[in-house]
């Protein structure tokens, strides 16, 4: 059974979620961006250029790899990994930055800004900016600068200025605040490349569209490999872009289960987590209405996750909609469980996943044994673990 899905509406609403909740100075640039995006969305020349970049620069299509040994070990469903870790710069983030950079170029913008948590989006942005010869400033929470120092160095090598944000909780949400402040100040020449399916309209839809190459490829590759659609898709959810990119082309295939994995940190019950869909409620932050973590006074809560890329109190508004409608389900995985996922994939398949992606791996370890051997799970391996080597070594008491 399939149902037509055409979200968002023309003002960026996914039911009660999404929208354009920004200060007046940002309305004109957002309208300008939306106009450009609508124009190029179906422009043959733009699409051809994007496709060529994705193929020759990013290295797409990324493989859909049958993790046979791991599947056998877990004793249930056949697990296929969508290898976004093999993309240039090491994660799915580049699919989106390549697309937005092409838009920036067409809009005549000379300066690029971005926020980053794990640094993967920052690196992917600095990379496309270097390639186009554009000035690039990346905002990163001071806490994340410390725990992802390798990526900070990569961004600097690529010619970007990395600004350590000292306000608030000094993590991803504060980096986003600071990037928005930069944008209102420099609206004329600056393009803000948001790294996930959040922010004001049109970002959630636009980033989803750029990332949906993941799901389009996966669908075709799965049909080729197994002759049918997968039974379940699993992806980690920070802001939700790798998950949305995988899910979107399958939304109308209602027999395919969509499962988003949030970061439970020390455990949802402890309050030290980053799982707004599992444990938050609707509110407004960073330009859209969505599930958020906040206290009784509406002040945004501090979050916790071992992975900087999931350490965010909100989530893209389309996920809020998919949750409420029941089309997708959202689960959570603690730091410790994520570490189990990290080691399992590393030892079983010789693939070291990013700590973000490890959350999806950990849930797959729970899910696969409950399914039949003739069933399939596609797990999004959103990034590789190189950036996390210092964090992991430190946990093991090893000085690198």
């Amino acid at each position: 059974m399939t149902e037509k899905y055409n979200m968002p509406d023309d003002r960026g609403h996914f039911g009660p979620y999404g929208g354009m909740f920004v200060a007046e100075t940002l309305i004109p640039p957002i309208q300008e961006l939306n106009a450009a995006y609508q124009r190029y969305l179906n422009d043959a020349e733009f699409i051809a250029e994007l496709d060529a970049d994705l193929q020759h620069y990013v290295g797409r299509p990324s493989p859909l790899y049958h993790a046979e040994r791991w599947s056998r070990e877990l004793g249930g469903a056949q697990i296929y990994l969508k290898r976004e870790d093999l993309n240039h710069t090491g994660s799915h983030k580049i699919n989106n930055t390549v697309g937005q950079a092409l838009l920036a170029k067409r809009m005549g913008k000379t300066r690029i800004i971005a926020e980053t948590g794990a640094g993967q989006h920052g690196v992917a942005t600095a990379t496309v900016a270097a390639r186009l010869g554009l000035e690039c400033v990346v905002y990163m929470g001071a806490v994340d600068v410390a725990r992802q120092s390798l990526n900070v160095y990569r961004m600097k090598l690529l010619g970007a200025t990395v600004v350590a944000v000292e306000s608030g909780s000094k993590t991803l949400k504060d980096a986003l605040n600071e990037a928005l402040r930069d944008w209102v100040t420099n609206v004329d020449n600056t393009f803000y490349i948001i790294g996930t399916v959040a922010g004001p309209h049109p970002y959630p839809a636009m980033v989803r569209d750029f990332q949906s190459i993941i799901g389009r490829e996966a669908k075709q590759q799965c049909l080729e490999a197994t002759g049918r659609l997968p039974d379940a898709l699993v992806a980690c959810v920070g802001g939700g872009s790798n998950a949305m990119g995988l899910f979107y082309p399958f939304i109308e295939d209602s027999q395919v289960k969509l499962i988003g994995v949030e970061a439970a940190g020390d455990g949802v019950a402890t309050g030290r987590h980053s799982a707004p869909l599992c444990a938050g409620r609707p509110g407004v932050l960073h330009g859209n209405r969505t599930y958020l973590m906040f206290d009784d006074d509406g002040e945004i809560s501090e979050t916790h996750s071992i992975s900087a890329g999931l350490d965010y109190p909100g989530v893209g508004p389309e996920h809020a909609w998919l949750k409420d409608t029941g089309r997708a389900q959202y689960v959570n995985i603690t730091d410790n469980e994520a570490l189990d996922g990290f080691y399992a994939l590393t030892r079983m398949e010789g693939i070291i996943p990013a700590l973000e992606s490890s959350h999806a791996m950990a849930y797959t370890m729970k899910l696969a044994p409950t399914m039949g051997k003739d069933e399939t799970i596609i797990v999004n391996l959103s990034g590789r673990g190189d950036k996390d080597m210092q964090t992991m070594a430190k946990r093991e008491g090893i000085e690198l």
Binding site: F21, I27, S167, G168, N177, V187, G298, E299, I300
Partner: protein
């Protein structure tokens, strides 16, 4: 007639401009705010904007961000800001009071509960920074039904179409953000503000308060000549920040700065 409309009408009769200070409720501590508000009235201000502290003040520069952080450290909240407003009203029935803040605390309280509480506190206007005209219809109607003005921002890059839209649904006054940037930023370009004000006045009947970049008596006077009111925030809050160990002095310096602005504006504003 609302307190805001009456105030601007009264000022217009004498050719004077509104002096509108902004401070954050609960900065640097909750006991400071109400006496500070009364002192500002004594120093000659016409309208008070009271900032509601928020954990993620995206449109604010570092000075007001830190004011929010100081207030939140004392557990200041939207509820307690409303209580502050109510206490101010006990002994001041005439000075219009505008709450300025972000949407999420209001969402958390619920639109209707908030509108009722604001009415009980005799708040005159609400400026919700991250709620543009497109998104807030239900909310605006709840406020309107209780006689509370919805105040909107306009910016240097706002189109004619947006000016008309905001004129149609806004009331009280328009807050013109004189430069592209966050609060407390740089310096404003007088010729640009003048041009934009001409455009706004062509399409709107509302009084216009001009803010961002007003630092001293001289800028206040310059800006007063261009619109109907002058909003000053970061320059006042900087006085608090510079005197955290001597709040009596902070209060004195704020009043002194406001009085000097009042004087300069009254000299410059009479055409």
């Amino acid at each position: 007639m609302s307190r805001l409309a009456a105030t601007f009408e009264e000022l217009a009769k004498t050719g004077r401009k509104a002096l509108i200070p902004f401070i954050t409720a609960g900065d640097p501590n909750p006991d400071f705010t109400v006496p500070m508000m009364h002192a500002m009235v004594d120093a000659g201000v016409d309208v008070i904007e009271l900032g509601v502290p928020f954990s993620d003040p995206m449109a604010d520069g570092p000075v007001i961000q830190r004011a929010s952080e100081r207030a939140l450290a004392h557990k200041m909240s939207l509820k307690r800001t409303l209580a502050t407003a109510m206490e101010f009203r006990k002994t001041n029935q005439h000075t219009p009071l505008v709450l300025m803040g972000y949407l999420n605390p209001i969402e958390a309280m619920g639109y209707e509960d908030f509108a009722n509480a604001a009415q009980r506190a005799e708040v005159d206007g609400i400026l919700t920074v991250d709620l543009p005209p497109e998104e807030g219809q239900e909310y605006r109607e709840l406020l309107k039904a209780r006689g509370i003005d919805s105040i909107f921002l306009l910016a240097p890059n706002s189109s004619e179409e947006r000016i008309k839209k905001i004129d149609a649904i806004g009331s009280g006054y328009i807050y013109y953000v004189s430069l592209k940037g966050v609060t407390g930023a740089g310096h404003l370009n007088v010729a640009d503000v003048e041009d934009k004000l001409r455009q706004i006045k062509t399409h709107s009947r509302l009084p216009v308060g001009i803010g961002f970049g007003v630092k001293d008596a001289e800028t206040a006077k310059t800006v007063a000549d261009l619109g109907d009111g002058v909003v000053v925030g970061s320059a006042l809050i900087s006085k608090i920040e510079a005197n955290l160990d001597d709040l009596a002095r902070a209060k004195h310096e704020i009043c002194h700065l406001l009085a000097s602005m009042r004087q300069a504006m009254d000299e410059g504003g009479q055409q």
